[in-house]
């Protein structure tokens, strides 16, 4: 989304020499506005294709029957929830190091989507677990660490919302995101070890190794849809954040006037 190399020499200010040009909220706001609908349509298209393949084309699983089809929502949501945390921590680190406000806003715009995917993966997992394992919940390593990831997201959101001063909330949120990112692998491995110590691998989430290629295609399409959705939603959210943070500046006033005139 940021290929800024050709704009290097366009204007003479020092900031425009690199990708940092796009770190200015004023520059990023219209770009995000232009890109978001594209990603939204892309997400919708991929989602329809993925669900069609998942529900109508992919063969029925010989062990689990039709129930396995929840995988097309469950697995992409789980992937995305973990990945968004990493991206969030990345933007938090970038913000702390480079002192760019937009990075913090991006981290905060991503958090609700990450929490949503985390919740979706837990919820669909529970619905999947009931018919296949006979229970909504097992204290399996993956389930437990996913639950803790949800708590980490909620902690981040609660902390950034609780602090009114935006400069402080940005930085405090960034620190907790980074502390969380350091802890995620520790949590994952400790939970895994705790689980195997106590009950052995009574329930294994790994499916049969051979997977029909249509299933894989469906899942990948849904994963891409989740990506596109994340881009679209976080761009829209970051636009609101930018407007809120920069409400005292002239360009926001001009922008709002323009939007009002159009409406």
């Amino acid at each position: 989304m940021m290929n800024g190399t050709e704009t290097e020499t366009e204007d003479g200010t020092k900031r425009s020499r690199s990708l940092l040009r796009f770190a200015a909220p004023q520059v990023f706001y219209p770009i995000a506005g232009r890109l978001a609908p594209w990603f939204a349509w892309l997400a919708a298209g991929l989602c329809v294709a993925g669900l069609w393949i998942g529900f109508f084309v992919a063969p029925t699983d010989f062990q689990q029957g039709e129930v396995y089809r929840v995988i097309f929502i469950h697995v992409p949501a789980a992937w995305m929830s973990m990945f968004i945390y990493l991206i969030m921590a990345f933007w938090a680190a970038v913000g702390l190091v480079m002192n760019t406000r937009l990075s913090f806003m991006m981290a905060q715009a991503l958090a609700p989507t990450g929490a949503m995917f985390c919740f979706v993966s837990l919820w669909t997992g529970a619905l999947w677990g009931r018919p296949t394992w006979g229970t909504y919940w097992v204290w399996d390593a993956r389930l437990t660490s996913q639950l803790l990831l949800l708590f980490l997201y909620l902690g981040f959101i609660a902390l950034t919302q609780a602090i009114e001063d935006s400069r402080r909330s940005d930085r405090a949120g960034a620190i907790i995101a980074l502390v969380g990112a350091v802890n995620v692998p520790i949590i994952y491995f400790s939970v895994q070890w705790w689980n195997t110590l106590h009950q052995g691998a009574s329930v294994s989430l790994t499916r049969a190794p051979s997977m029909a290629s249509t299933m894989l295609v469906g899942m990948l399409l849904m994963a891409l849809a989740a990506w596109a959705y994340t881009f679209a939603v976080s761009f829209w959210r970051v636009r609101s954040l930018i407007l809120e943070r920069e409400r005292h500046t002239e360009w926001v006033a001009a922008e709002l006037d323009e939007q009002e005139a159009r409406a």
């Binding site: 902690g155 609660a158 902390l159 609780a162 402080r168 980074l178 802890n183 949590i187 400790s190």
Partner: protein
Amino acid sequence: MLGPFLAVLQRDLTLAWRGRADVLVTLAFFVIVVCLFPFGVGAETNQLRAIAPGVLWVAALLSTLLSLHRLFAQDHADGTLEQLLLSPEPTALWVLAKVLAHWIVTGLPLVIAAPGLALLFDVEQGALGVLVLSLALGSPILALLGAVGAALTLGLRSGGVLLALLVLPLFVPVLIFGAGAVDSHLGGTGATAHLLLLGGGLLGAIAMTPFACAAALRIAME
């Protein structure tokens, strides 16, 4: 290097000694929470024996959480924190001293009281040493991780609940290895691996959390 460390340590310990009642509240909370469990799950001896390590550890974790907000709140209110941040001494150093003082005041009494409480749950006497050791290694990690949360939530209205939400997920590995140490000793597999991991975790926490905590304090005081 050691001068400011010892000065802050001594100051915090003196202050804690002057307000002894506060310290006893944490200990009393620990004892009461542990004593509540038999009422909730029933007084069947085998069951109590089985849940004892987990109960003691969860209670220790909750009492640590309860006392965390006091770590910086007083100094924040009377301006000491600001003066300390302005001083040329390295922030991570005196933060570590404050956390150590806090642990001596709130964590150490729990470590000492734990074996007595374990007897209420009829825990085998041979496991008491492992319990004490696991708490002695684990509870400082809780204090160090909690200090970061306390610094981040300093002066916020909903600080207490928020602090719990922030640090409890981070406490999980410590809880697993702490309670696991006693469990595996009782189960016959030996607690060495768990205790070594806790020790390693403690060293890692000492090395890293003071810096995160210092950064959080600077943000809070800006």
